[in-house]
Amino acid sequence: MAVLTRPLAAVGARVLALFAMIGRVTLFFLETLSHVVRPPFYARELGVQVLQIGWLSLPVVGLTAVFTGGALALQIYAGGARFDAEAVVPQIVAIGMVRELGPVLVGLMIAARVTSSIAAEIATMKVTEQIDALVTLSTHPMKYLTVPRVLAALITVPVLVGVGDIVGIFGGYQVATGTLGFNPATYLKNTVDFLEPLDVISSLVKGAVFGVIAAVMGCQAGMNSGRGAQGVGRATKSAVEAAAVMILAANFLLTGVFFSL
């Protein structure tokens, strides 16, 4: 009998652990929200994080978007040629980048770059007792470390998504006009005419949600890290994994919501 129940028990334990993790993250997020509206506020820390999360992520976001936009143009052209629809490249690149690829790729790049960095930094601070030191210096770690990072991600990731959308469309434009023979003016006109305000709004809203997910997961994993180098490594790995999965799941839910509007 034990042979039959053991695998089920293992699955059950995993499911319970997953729900426990979701519960811990939810409580952590709610606690963060409660600190957002209560002083003291650390404006300098917020500024530093806006630079770290926003400004310093621009190169990687730009490179990701430009290559993706270019590849997307080639794929749509090749796919469209099978049923004489090559002319839809500008429209599909625009809608593909703005509604889906821009926010998702930026979200995943932020999970890779920012979530890992936040988790490793805060976990190291915990391991080296810097978090305890903050408390003894009358500074709440949630206010000093978590709130600035979450707010900075909320502010900057939508901007990064906007930049990614534009750069991605530019990548598609370069490939289409440079190698596929599209007329530059017509390409741009088709792009602008096809996009609707809701496409852009959905892109930016997704960016804001993904930014918050990336920052919260990094902070939560860092604050709850285990001891030593292994603890820091585990915290970083689990933060990036969880952030990436949650970003993709949130993308699915948000896409459904925006489709229903």
Binding site: P40, Y42, M125, T128, E129, Q130, D132, T136, S138, T139
Partner: protein, 245 residues
């Protein structure tokens, strides 16, 4: 005065504190000794509220219900320094003076930081360096300067000489003794280093098995007659404390 009264704290099956009772009179320097993992750091962290005891009470004379006001009375030197890597040395030292209830203008906070650095034997040029650019001994001194920056009434020292060479350990011990005496602060130090004990302590308490095994003036430590304390202070492998734990 700080009083521990039957304090218990466990982490899972690991029962660290099992009824610790101790009184640290105001203005004295109490050093807690004991083997690794006996709960010395846990005891300090329980006082500061970093760890919540499972049962028992810890009383700090004149304690305020306001947590910030309570913590403002304390300074702490952490074992590894616990300096904030992203901030220059002077901002580490003046951390409490740059924000919160004790906030001062930036120039004044920097001036105080440099004065405290000088007090622990560091030149003003160190103020603008990052912690990673300092040696272990210098980091300890910066940690000490941070602990005393806001002139606390109570100072905790967690393994203040761990990882330092004997000369630097002696310098830190002397500094701690001088600072505690001139500030009139209540000090609690935890250490394995017997030279630190003799240099810093007015009173000594030995923590073993989650309880205070022996406590008394440092002058009585050598003729206590307690086999556990004797084994510990003489560093013997044989005795009632198992060498393999």
């Amino acid at each position: 005065m700080i009083r521990f009264d039957d304090v218990h704290k466990s982490f899972g099956r690991n029962h660290v504190l099992q009824g610790m009772t101790l009184e640290v009179p105001k203005g004295t320097s109490m050093v807690i000794i004991g083997g690794s993992g006996t709960g010395k750091s846990v005891a300090l962290k329980c006082v500061l509220g970093l760890i919540r005891p499972d049962s028992g009470t810890i009383t700090v004379e004149g304690a305020s219900k306001d947590r910030d006001a309570f913590l403002a009375r304390f300074g702490m030197l952490f074992q590894g320094g616990a300096l904030f890597d992203s901030l220059p040395v002077w901002q580490n030292v003046a951390f409490r003076l740059l924000r919160g209830a004790l906030k001062r203008p930036k120039a004044e906070a920097r001036e105080i930081a440099i004065e405290k650095l000088r007090r622990v034997g560091l030149a003003p040029e160190v103020a603008d360096r990052l912690p990673a650019e300092l040696s272990g001994g210098m980091q300890k001194r910066v940690g000490l300067a941070r602990a005393i920056a806001a002139d606390p009434e109570i100072i905790f020292f967690d393994e203040p000489t761990t990882g330092l060479d004997p000369i630097m350990a002696g310098v830190i011990n002397e500094l701690i003794r001088e600072i505690v005496t001139e500030m009139g602060a209540t000090a609690m130090t935890i250490t394995h280093d017997m030279s630190s004990v003799r240099a810093i302590a007015d009173d000594v308490a030995m923590l073993h098995g989650g309880k205070i095994r022996w406590t008394g003036p440092v002058a009585r430590m050598d003729d206590s007659g307690d086999p556990y304390l004797d084994q510990f202070i003489h560093g013997r492998a044989e005795g009632p404390i198992p060498a393999v734990r």
